[in-house]
């Protein structure tokens, strides 16, 4: 993992490449989301639940 990736993960940026790798490896026959759709879905999920932000 590069430093760039590490910083992105700490900031909480969704990992599209990781998702693609996961889908290739585990579910090669299923359709994958586009980058835009993936980012939107991940961000929406992040701001729906308590547990991502604190005082």
């Amino acid at each position: 993992m590069t430093l760039r990736d590490a910083i992105l993960r700490v900031l909480g940026v969704p990992d599209y490449q990781g998702y693609l790798a996961h889908m290739r490896e585990r579910h090669p026959d299923e359709p994958v989301l586009s980058q835009d759709a993936f980012m939107r879905e991940r961000l929406a999920a992040r701001y729906e639940r308590p547990g991502a932000r604190c005082c």
Binding site: M1, R4, A6, I7, L8, R9, V10, L11, G12, V13, D15, Y16, G18, Y19, A21, H22, M23, R26, Q35, D36, M39, R40, E41, R42, L43, A44, A45, R46, Y47, E48, R49, P50, G51, A52, R53, C54, C55
Partner: protein, 656 residues
């Protein structure tokens, strides 16, 4: 390292810590250097981490690297993603670190530096870090379940339901009190107002940039964002120096409060990629950067602590907030020692990322120690100020009047010498018309931070730039809680409303979204407005009580989990902080509601005022009562379960 060398090392750490504590506690009359406080802190954290967290990891939970974690078991490339522990630590810390640990210790400095220091260190090592760690362990053993879900399953439906209600109520108070911190920092401050206002178009620009111009180039966008933030800082300076513009942005507290409500509502209904996400990236970056810079600054300057170890305000007559050392020091400091909110993170995103069970120790326990260290730095920054200046900034106008002359006279008469000249000079140096009665903690911390930073880069109005940089940092920090919190609150509310009318629960039905957002904003808006008119003193203790009571719920869940593992003896790990928190918070709630002194007691205060102010007091009293009752219900419900489990006839199967 050989066993003998290790023993010598830890004996050395223990002696250094004990020696530093002795220096802090026994100093009388002369100033103590912050180096002693840092030494005591680091030694305490090191010993707590090395011995106590290991005991919890190995004996209580028997964390096992060969057991699969939810991240591995349910790996879906989205929510559940096995992640390196260093990254999880960073992510967890960025999520738990908020403005709370900066504000609380600053306020508690009115008791002197010693009570705050002791509670931050002891509270974190045996309370807060234990809570975060235990809840994280419990959650990874339960597929990454949330705190409310664990309360429901481990204790019962009553506790689960109460926990959910308590979380919603606590979020309302949290957002209101943090909003009030911003209002008090920005009132009549065109520089600060313009700078913070500009951060909103900057975030929107980054959102558009990341969506359409250069999709997902987050680091690049954040770098542009930081340059723009610095531009906003200078734009604010220009605005303050240009009379016509300055006049336009010299806003009253009530206007600022309404603006925050409009902003919170917008953030709740706008798409997250447009505003929340880019602003979050930016603020996470600034957050970690500033915390590191503050640590380095304090380490290099090692400022003397000008505040005495103890002030006479431990009797409860302090101007910053009412209430005596016990229980209010423990309520006020809140987040840096024990923060119930962390239990939501420890049972939220973090357990779904952990790759190995033993990683829970550095992330859960270690993450909280780091947060506590941030609070220690805030305490140092506050205590490094001249006490006279500290009290002039943090006391309400009712105590010190509205002119530098009246403030200097009042504060000096309390035994903290300060001249009118000192106060007006400082205000001029930081680029403000006045610093008097800027309650809420943020401005005095900003003065402290600016003093520390300008120790490196001084001259040419550096103090003013650093001061407004610090204000922008704190305000940005708070906005991230305010808008993300409003959005989460909207979802919880929609979830509850869905039980009444299914349409309202649908998150894609726009009228439902707007209605739930408006309701939730109105909920915290009521408390924000009453805080603006009634003062900071009443709202912060209410937040502290709420946060510590959420911790009591979390520790009840933790105790239940440990007892159900068949280890009632080890339940003391969570039972001891639980008993302490219940004692502290119930004393504080009862005093806050019923005390005869109108400065402290809400009901007594309601009799001295009329109209909306009296209404506010009754409302606060009801809220404090609600929090107390809901937590007592959870605790009693938990005790019932404990007794059933450990009774000889128990037939419950022990759970891992």
């Amino acid at each position: 390292m050989s066993k003998a060398a290790r023993t010598t090392l830890w004996v050395g750490v223990a002696l250094a810590g004990a020696g530093a504590f002795a220096m802090l506690a026994l100093s009388r009359g002369e100033t103590v250097n912050a180096a002693w406080l840092l030494t005591a802190a680091i030694a305490t954290y090191a010993i707590g981490y090395r011995f106590y967290s290991r005991f919890i990891a190995q004996r209580v939970f028997q964390l096992d690297a060969t057991r699969t974690t939810p991240a591995v078991r349910f790996n879906d490339g989205r929510d559940y993603v096995p992640t390196n522990r260093v990254i999880v630590f960073g992510h967890h810390f960025a999520a738990i670190a908020g403005p709370g640990p900066l504000v609380g210790p600053t306020l508690a400095a009115q008791f002197g530096f010693l009570p705050g220091t002791i509670w931050l260190l002891v509270g974190a090592v045996v309370g807060g870090a234990v809570q975060d760690f235990v809840i994280l362990c419990a959650s990874i053993r339960r597929d990454g379940k949330s705190l409310a879900a664990m309360a429901r399953e481990e204790i019962g439906p009553v506790a689960g339901g109460m926990a959910l209600f308590a979380i919603l109520g606590i979020m309302i108070i949290l957002i209101a009190v943090l909003g009030l911190v911003i209002v008090n920092a920005l009132k009549s401050s065109p520089w600060g107002t313009v700078t913070l206002l500009l951060t909103i178009p900057i975030a929107l620009f980054l959102g558009v940039y990341l969506r359409w111009v250069r999709p997902s180039r987050v680091l690049e966008a954040t770098a542009i964002g930081i340059v723009l933030l610095i531009g906003a800082l200078y734009a604010g300076q220009w605005a303050a120096a240009t009379p016509a513009v300055a006049k336009m942005f010299t806003l009253s507290p009530i206007v600022l409060a309404w603006s925050l409500m409009v902003y919170g509502f917008a953030a709740s209904v706008l798409p997250v990629w447009l505003l929340l996400a880019p602003r979050d990236y930016l603020s996470a970056f600034v957050k970690i950067g500033v915390v590191l810079a503050l640590a380095i600054g304090i380490l290099f300057l090692l400022p003397p602590l000008k505040m005495p170890a103890l002030t006479r305000y431990i009797d409860g007559t302090g101007p910053v907030f009412a209430g005596s050392l016990f229980p209010f020091a423990f309520i006020t400091i809140a987040c840096g020692a024990v923060s119930g909110f962390h239990a939501l993170i420890s049972s939220g995103t973090t357990p779904k990322l952990l790759e190995r069970e033993p990683d829970a120790r550095p992330v859960g326990y270690g993450g909280m120690l780091t947060e506590s260290m941030v609070a220690v730095m805030a305490l140092i920054a506050a205590c490094a100020l001249t006490p006279g200046v500290y009290f002039a900034i943090n006391s309400p106008a009712s105590a010190i009047g509205t002119t530098v002359a009246s403030a200097a006279t009042a504060v000096s008469s309390w035994g903290f010498q300060v001249s009118p000249q000192d106060l007006s000079d400082l205000a001029r140096q930081v680029g403000e018309s006045s610093l008097l009665s800027r309650t809420g903690g943020a401005p005095s911390l900003a003065v402290g931070m600016a003093t520390i930073f300008s120790g490196f880069f001084s001259g040419g109005g550096a103090l003013a730039l650093w001061y407004h940089f610090a204000i922008m940092f704190e305000a940005l920090f708070i906005l991230t809680v305010l808008d993300a919190g409003t959005r989460v609150g909207r979802f919880i509310l929609q979830d509850l409303l869905g039980h009444i009318s299914p349409a309202l629960g649908r998150v894609s039905w726009y009228p439902g979204v707007v209605l739930a957002s408006a309701l939730f904003v109105a909920g915290w808006g009521v408390f924000l407005i009453q805080g603006v008119t009634g003062g900071f003193n009443s709202l912060w203790p209410l937040f502290g009580i709420a946060n510590q009571l959420l911790a009591a719920i979390a520790l009840s869940v933790g105790t239940t989990v440990i007892i159900k593992m068949g280890k009632p003896r080890y339940a003391l790990v969570t039972l001891v902080p639980l008993v302490w928190l219940v004692a502290v918070t119930s004393t504080a709630s009862v005093e806050k509601i019923f005390a005869a002194d109108p400065r402290l007691g809400l009901l007594a205060h309601a009799k001295t005022v009329t109209g909306s102010l009296a209404f506010a007091d009754y409302l606060d009293a009801i809220v404090a009562g609600f929090f107390l009752v809901s937590v007592l219900i959870v605790v009693f419900d938990a005790v019932r379960v404990w007794l059933r489990v450990i009774s000889p006839t128990a037939d419950l199967v022990a759970q891992p």
